[in-house]
């Protein structure tokens, strides 16, 4: 009986010791983005005809330009969408016909020369595979026609180009 009692006390002490030494050690870390997007130039709509708005310089507009900076090669895709609706505008009672294009404006490396040829377009989206580290500038053309030869109401029109950096 004595021995059993002793064993029981020793087991209890071991259990207590093990429980007291347990600890939780946190681990934190920050990941800096390796792909950043900057607005290089804000766009302006020109109004070459009563029913048309366009960012083309020939139409009196200014092309918006967005820059992608990629620190590591071949980890990201650029997805740029030309607008298909107005963020703000006067009350419109007729249909709008949207169109647009996205092109490589310039690059910081010769190896990016193939981006334009390799781009993928669908709907109002354009995707580029960013296979080379460095900066790439993309210019966006946006055009909108109002109704069937109908004059656009006077006021301020605002549309937005969406640029995303998607990890592959």
């Amino acid at each position: 009986m004595t021995k059993l009692k002793l064993y029981g006390v020793a087991a209890s002490l071991l259990a207590l010791t093990t429980y007291a030494n347990a600890a939780e050690v946190p681990i934190t870390g920050n990941v800096a983005s390796k792909c950043t997007i900057f607005t290089d130039t804000e766009g302006v709509y020109g109004n070459p005809s009563p029913d048309k708005l366009s960012t083309a310089p020939a139409d009196g507009g200014v092309l918006p330009v967005v820059r992608y900076d990629v620190a590591i090669a071949d980890y990201y895709k650029a997805k740029i969408s030309w607008p298909n609706n107005f963020s703000t505008s006067p009350n419109l009672t007729d249909a709008l016909a949207w169109d647009g294009t996205v092109e490589v404006s310039s690059t910081s490396d010769v190896g990016m020369a193939g981006y334009e040829a390799a781009k993928v377009e669908y709907d109002n989206h354009t995707e580029y595979d960013l296979t080379v580290a460095g900066s790439t500038w993309f210019k966006v053309t946006s055009t909108v026609l109002y109704g069937q030869g109908k004059s656009l109401p006077g006021g301020t029109y605002t549309a937005t180009v969406t640029a995303e950096c998607i990890a592959k």
Partner: protein
């Protein structure tokens, strides 16, 4: 570099280049080979102080722009620049921008004319020379205040010198008056004396002393002594005899003792 960079040939000015951005559009067939060199000659050591090569071989042409952050290099090393193309293709819309820092020794530049700032070395000397050549100054002149101040100081200095001279003269006069070596000339105003004598010698004033007439005449003798016999004084003769006797008696005593 021609006139691409600002002129830094003036003294106390240095120009250093610390960055470069270039941009151009390569026009070429993707199948052809093309190499583009963007570079600047090294005007001092020879070769190139900057050179970047873009190999477009097998690639389509596009617009490229590159930025380079460089260690500060004196602009004198940066010689003529060029964008050279090897192979088939061309470069259009080329643009090169240099980032530079211009150091201007502001104090040295400003003080090329010492009058530019009171902080410049030699300002006071230059100001004195400038003001010395002016008789009058317009209030619009930038140194009008200094000129007025200088005039006031000049007047004050003149007054101080006058007072000092007067004090010195007073001290000198006092010293002379107290001196034991006074001469007649110092004590008497010789000029005043001469003037006085000259006044006295004037005939009309001294004539009266010379022309006084003293009334006189002949003074006749009033006492007439008639001839007569004057007898000897017997009493005197006797007295003299007694005196002689007495003297001989006294004398005889002395003679006997001998």
């Amino acid at each position: 570099m021609g006139d691409v960079l600002p002129d830094a040939s003036a003294p106390h000015i240095t120009l250093q280049i610390n960055g470069l951005i270039y941009r151009y559009t390569a026009v070429k067939d993707p199948e052809t080979g093309m190499i583009v060199h963007v570079r600047n000659e090294d005007a001092i050591d020879g070769g190139y102080v900057f050179e970047e090569t873009d190999d477009w071989s097998g690639l389509p042409g596009t617009t490229i722009q590159k930025f380079f952050s460089l260690p500060y290099t004196d602009s004198t090393r940066w010689g003529d620049g060029e964008i050279a193309v090897e192979g088939e293709g061309s470069v259009v819309d080329a643009n090169v921008v240099y980032s530079y820092r211009m150091d201007i020794g502001q104090e040295q530049i400003t003080c090329l004319n010492p009058l530019s700032s009171p902080e410049c070395p030699g300002f006071l000397d230059a100001l004195r020379k400038y003001l010395a050549n002016l008789d009058n100054l317009s209030p619009d002149d930038p140194f009008y205040d200094q000129w007025v101040q200088a005039q006031l100081e000049k007047e004050t200095k003149l007054e101080e010198e006058t007072v000092a001279n007067e004090e010195d003269q007073e001290e000198e006069d006092l010293e002379k008056e107290l001196s034991a070596e006074n001469t007649m000339d110092d004590l008497i105003d010789s000029g005043q004396q001469a003037a006085m004598l000259a006044a006295l010698t004037q005939v009309p004033k001294i004539e009266t002393y010379y022309t006084v007439t003293i009334p006189g005449g002949e003074y006749q003798d009033t006492v007439i002594l008639e001839d007569a016999e004057i007898p000897d004084n017997r009493r005197a003769m006797r007295s003299l005899a007694r005196d002689e006797t007495h003297r001989s008696m006294v004398r005889s005593q002395y003679d006997r003792n001998q």
